[in-house]
Amino acid sequence: MTRVEVKPGDGILVTRNLTKIYGERVALEKVSVAIEKGKTTVIIGQSGCGKTVFMKHLIALERPTEGEVFFKGQRIDQLHNHELAEVRTSFGFCFQMGALFDSLTVYENIIFPIQQHREIKDFKVLGELVKLKLALVGMDGYQHQYPASLSGGQKKRVSLARAIALNPEVVLYDEPTTGLDPITSDVINELIIKLQRELKITSVVVTHDMKSAYKIADRIIMLHRGKIAADGDADYIRNHPSEVVRQFIEGRIGEADLAALRLGGTKFPTQFQPEDFSGT
């Protein structure tokens, strides 16, 4: 696959030769991507292929072993934490399990970033702001509930409301539909599309839910073993010639893996009977 060298100004978020090595395991290997402003970019790939690691690098929650990360042309991977604080206010991060502060109410969760970075002291204004953000995700009225009393889908929606509390330019979603039923998943998909259209937010979504990816993506990037295996729009990915990509999008096990499973023995532990162990 021929690679075009990306430049810091090619997109709102740019990674150049991003490499991350944990001990002896290579999680990312020379990943160069330019993420376009105002578009939804979906990162797909098998579990453990480096999707979440890649996304955490975009907000410098992880530091690369090699390579560079740029946000609006500014290199951010080498910034000190206190310099990053300002950069991070331009981002919203929706964590896989919501990561809501369980000792705080929904209201307190949403005003957290506002109180940290804005000088709004009027509780009436704060209340209106929270109401507005919650209304955007269809959760107005839940202000005084604690995260423990919310369902998985509701937690993700509140997490999304918190992520957009500071009107960010970029929202990063880590597996937003994982663990949700198909209808709630579709609600989340619609919310991602709505936020991108109405608030002109740049979205980066990490997922392995292909239905969701096809629905929300302007561009899909597939990572395989820490490298880019495919990069294009939904149609390009749907008709991709590579076997690795086809297997993933069709949810099909590879011949090599299947052969390994067949060779793995005919009797599984659950098939053993007590008498199998009593002869000796």
């Binding site: 991060f93 940290q116 970075h117």
Partner: protein, 270 residues
């Protein structure tokens, strides 16, 4: 092979120590910034309430029992020599100098240290700490510095409570149970216990408090994933706090003794 394993283990421990030192450095830096910004005071008040105010009953009970037990254990020994009226000086010096501060700190390590590690550990494994960071807030400043500050400031106060109840516990057992003359009990105590003894006991509290908070928060921040990870971190935090309290106590015993002997070389002979 064994040498290699020992070397690896040693290297791992040095790395841990390095990480802990960096963590402590960041926490102290953040604490300085917290003191300078009144915006963070509510966080410190909240932690002071959780760490300090709610620990008062258990610390007072610990102190009272220490004094009472010392009275029961020492009475027969001193009575055999006809020195029972000197029970006060023995109890009170032991309480204010060593047992009050150390046992109050150990109690605090169990009650507060475990809770801090479990709370921060759970926040860590559920990505809540990463969420704080992703929103442009320094998690050390927001989560660690208020806890360290609260522990640092309130451990000496809690030691005063432990001392007070230890003194009263010892007094009541001595005077009411063993019928020692109250006046003589206090007179001998006043002769033997100096302001220096009380002061050094309280002074050590700052360091015990700091060690408890820093070790517990560090273990919470670095705990492994899963319920087992959080459980292990809590155990390691308590063991770490306990050993540190004893080690710090030994270091202070040596240093403070040397200081005392330098300034008042003849007093121990009187």
């Amino acid at each position: 092979m064994v040498t290699l394993a020992v070397w690896r283990k040693f290297k791992q421990q040095v790395e841990h120590l390095g990480r802990f030192s960096r963590f402590s450095g960041s926490a102290f830096g953040a604490m300085g910034s917290s003191i300078a910004h009144p915006k963070t005071y509510p966080l410190v008040w909240t932690q002071m309430n959780i760490i300090g105010v709610k620990s008062v009953p258990v610390i007072m009970a610990t102190g009272a029992f220490v004094g009472m037990i010392l009275a029961v254990q020492a009475y027969s020994q001193l009575a055999a020599m006809g020195l029972e009226e000197r029970l006060g000086v023995l109890i009170n010096i032991a309480v204010v100098k060593e047992l009050g501060p150390v046992l109050a700190a150990v109690m605090l390590a169990g009650r507060v240290g475990g809770a801090l590690t479990a709370e921060l550990g759970t926040m860590n494994v559920t990505e809540q700490i990463a969420a704080v960071e992703s929103m442009g807030t320094d998690p050390i400043k927001y989560l660690v510095s208020p806890r360290v500050l609260a522990c640092l400031l309130l451990t000496p106060v809690l030691i005063v409570y432990a001392d007070l109840l230890g003194i009263l516990g010892g007094y009541f057992v001595s005077v009411i149970q063993f019928k020692i003359n109250s006046g003589a009990y206090w007179d001998y105590s006043a002769m033997g216990v100096e302001l220096w003894d009380v002061g050094t006991g309280i002074f050590k509290g700052f360091f015990f408090g700091g060690a408890i908070a820093l070790i517990s928060c560090y273990k919470g921040f670095t705990c492994r994933e899963g319920a087992q990870g959080v459980g292990e971190a809590c155990t390691e935090a308590f063991v770490g706090c306990f050993i540190s309290i004893l080690a710090l106590n030994y270091v202070f015993a040596v240093i403070l003794d040397a200081i005392y002997k330098t300034f008042w070389p003849l007093r121990p002979l009187l």
